[in-house]
Amino acid sequence: MPKTWRSHVLCAYAMAILAFLYLPLLILALYSFNESRINAVWSGFTLDWYLSLFKNRRVLEALTNSLIVAFASTIVSTVLGTTAAIALNKYQYKYKNVINGLLYLPILIPEIVMGLSLLVLFSQTHIPLGKTSLILAHITFCVSFVVITVNARLEGMRPELEQAAMDLYATPFQTFRYVTLPLAMPGIVAGALMAFTLSIDDFIISFFVAGPNSTTLPLYIYAMVKRGISPEINALSTLLMLAIIVLVVLAQVLQPQHVSKKEE
C-alpha cells in the first residue's frame, strides 16, 4: 500500500495515544530519583531508592510471588480459555447458551464479591491459603477474558479453511494443529497478554485469597498507601519497564527472519 497522508495521520494518532499511555510512566520514572520519601514534590536528585530497593527483601519477595502467580495463571487460563472458545465455535451444544453464560458470568461479578466468595470456598474445602489459592483464583477470573478474546478471532475466521484441510484428508487433529491453531494464534496471544495483565495487577481478589507469605506486589503496594508509597516502588517499576523493553527488543533482533517466515 502506498504511503498516503492518511497513513501519516494514523501513525501520528497512534503515537499520540502511546504518548498518553506512557506519560504517567515517565513521571513515575522521574520520581524514582526524587529525594523525598513521599511522592509529593520534587526535592532533589538521588539514586538511594535504587540501592535500598535491592536491600528490601519484602519487595523482592512480593515481586517473585507476583511473577510466579501471573505466569502460572496465564498459562493455565490461556489453555482453558482457548480450548473452550474453539470447541464452542466448532461444535453445536445442546446447552450452548448455558455454557456461554457460564463463560461470561465471571467478568460480570464485582471483584470483591468474587474474592470473598472464593475465600469462603477455600476455607470450607480446606485449600490452604497461599500461592496455590492465589493461582486458582487468578485462573478463574482470567479464563473468561481469554475466551472472549479468542472468540473475537474465531468469529471472523472462515470455516472454509478448515473445510479445505479436511477435504485434503487431514485428520481432525492435523486440521486442529496445522490450520485452526495457527489461524487462532493472534487471538490466543492477545488473550494470554490480557490474562497476564489482569493477574499481575490484581489487588482485590488477591487480598482475600492470599495467605501468610504470599504477598504479591499489588498487595504490598496497596497496603503502603497509608504511609505513602515508597519511591522504591517507582524505582522497581522503572527497572521492570526497562527490562521488558530490552527483552522485547532483544527478542526482535535475535530471531526475526525465522518467526516472520513461519507466520507468513
Binding site: S36, I38, N39, A40, V41, S43, N56, R57, R58, I68, A72, S73, I75, V76, V79, L80, T83, L116, L119, V120, S123, Q124, P128, L129, G130, K131, T132, I135, L136, I139, P172, F173, F176, F207, F208, V209, A210, G211, P212, N213, S214, T215, L219, Y220, Y222, A223, M224, V225, K226, R227, G228, S230
Partner: protein
C-alpha cells in the same frame, strides 16, 4: 486432543502441587519457627524485625492490610493463620465481641507495663486483656500557614467560605460524621438519629466546598499545597510537616477523636507463644525507641523516652497536650447504627 488434555492436567497439577509444596516447605521443616504478622504496611522498622528473627531463630512473615474492615472481612471469611494482628481501637471491640481474639497472658509480656498508664486500659478494651496499644494519636485540623494566617480553633472553621475548593476531609464515614457531631457538641459515637441527621445536614453544606475526600494520599495533597485545610491524623501531620514546614496542626476546642492501633492475637493463632515473645520484644525500651523513630508516631512507651533523639522529642506535630487527650473520645463500635452512617455517607457522596 488427548495430548492437549493431558498437558492441561499436567499444568494444573504442576500449579497445585508445585506451589502447594513450596508453601508448605517453610512450615514443614519445623526448624526456624515462623511468626505470621498481619499488619499495616511499613508499620514496623525492618531492622527491628530482623533483630527479633536473629534473637529467636525464627522467620517473620509480614503481610499487610490497608484498613480495619479488610482485616475483619478476611478473618470472618475464615481466612488466614495469623499469629499477630494490628486492629485499631474500635475493631478490637468488634473482634472481642465476635470472639475472635485470644486472651493475652500478661505474664509473658511484662514489657507492656512500660506503656503509659492512660493507655493501658482504654475504653475499647477496658480490661486490657485482648490488646496492647502500639501507635496512637488524634484527629485534628491540619492547615497551611501560608494561606491561612489565623490558626483554626474550632471544627466550624472548616465551614468558612474562603476555603472553598481547598478543603480535604478523611475518606471515612465515622471520622467525618464524627467530626460534625463533635462540632455540634455531641459524642462522635452518637446513636441518636436526630443528632446524626443534623450533623449530616451540616456536612451537606460543607460538601460543595470540599476538594476531595482522602485518607491515603492526604499527606501528598498538603505537601504539594493542593489543599489548605482539612482533617488529619497526628502521625500523618508529623509526616507532612517533615516535607512542608508551613504545615500547622491543631486539636479543635470541641474535642476530637483519639485513636490507636494495637497488637492482638487472633483465635487459633498457630504460634501463640512466639507471638507473645514478639509483642514483649516490641516494648523493650531500646527497641521501641528505635522503632518509633522509624515509623514517626507517638511512642506510648514511657521507659523509652531516655533513648529518643531530641528531634523526635521536639516534633511539634507529636505534641498533643494533656488537655487535648483528656477531651479526646475513642470511636467505639456502633453496631447496628453503622447502616445509618453508611446510608448518610452515600447520600453525602452523591449529593442527594
Amino acid at each position: 486432543m488427548k495430548k492437549l488434555l493431558s498437558l492441561l492436567i499436567a499444568l494444573v497439577a504442576f500449579a497445585i502441587v508445585g506451589c502447594g509444596g513450596g508453601d508448605k516447605k517453610s512450615e514443614g521443616k519445623g526448624e526456624p519457627q515462623v511468626l505470621n504478622l498481619f499488619s499495616w504496611a511499613d508499620n514496623v522498622d525492618p531492622a527491628v524485625i530482623e533483630r527479633f528473627e536473629k534473637e529467636n531463630n525464627c522467620k517473620v512473615n509480614y503481610d499487610v492490610f490497608a484498613n480495619n474492615e479488610e482485616l475483619l472481612a478476611k478473618l470472618q471469611a475464615g481466612g488466614a493463620q495469623y499469629d499477630v494482628i494490628q486492629p485499631s481501637d474500635y475493631m478490637v471491640t468488634t473482634l472481642v465481641k465476635l470472639g475472635m481474639l485470644e486472651e493475652l497472658n500478661h505474664a509473658n509480656i511484662p514489657n507492656t507495663k512500660n506503656i503509659v498508664k492512660s493507655l493501658q486500659a482504654p475504653s475499647y478494651d477496658p480490661t486490657g486483656k485482648y490488646s496492647v496499644v502500639y501507635t496512637w494519636g488524634m484527629t485534628g485540623i491540619v492547615y497551611n500557614k501560608k494561606y491561612i494566617k489565623e490558626a483554626p480553633t474550632s471544627w466550624s472553621d472548616l465551614w468558612k467560605d474562603e476555603y472553598k475548593g481547598r478543603i480535604i476531609l478523611l475518606n471515612d464515614n465515622r471520622e467525618v460524621i464524627g467530626m460534625a457531631l463533635k462540632k455540634n457538641g455531641h459524642s462522635n459515637n452518637s446513636l441518636n438519629p436526630q443528632e446524626v441527621e443534623a450533623a449530616v445536614k451540616d456536612l451537606k453544606k460543607l460538601a460543595p466546598n470540599v476538594l476531595a475526600f482522602d485518607t491515603d494520599t492526604i499527606k501528598q495533597k498538603f505537601i504539594a499545597e493542593e489543599a489548605w485545610i482539612g482533617t488529619m491524623w497526628t502521625g500523618d501531620a508529623s509526616y507532612t510537616y517533615k516535607d512542608n514546614k508551613d504545615i500547622g496542626f491543631v486539636v479543635p476546642k470541641e474535642g476530637a477523636t483519639i485513636w490507636a492501633d494495637t497488637f492482638a492475637i487472633p483465635k487459633g493463632a498457630p504460634h501463640k507463644e512466639l507471638a507473645e515473645k514478639f509483642i514483649n520484644f516490641m516494648y523493650d525500651p531500646k527497641v521501641s525507641a528505635q522503632n518509633y523513630e522509624y515509623i514517626g508516631y507517638n511512642d506510648p512507651n514511657e521507659k523509652a523516652a531516655e533513648f529518643h533523639s531530641e528531634e523526635f522529642k521536639n516534633d511539634p506535630m507529636l505534641k498533643i497536650g494533656r488537655d487535648n487527650i483528656d477531651k479526646g473520645e475513642w470511636l467505639t463500635d456502633i453496631g447496628e447504627a453503622l447502616t445509618m452512617y453508611d446510608r448518610f455517607w452515600t447520600e453525602l457522596k452523591t449529593g442527594k
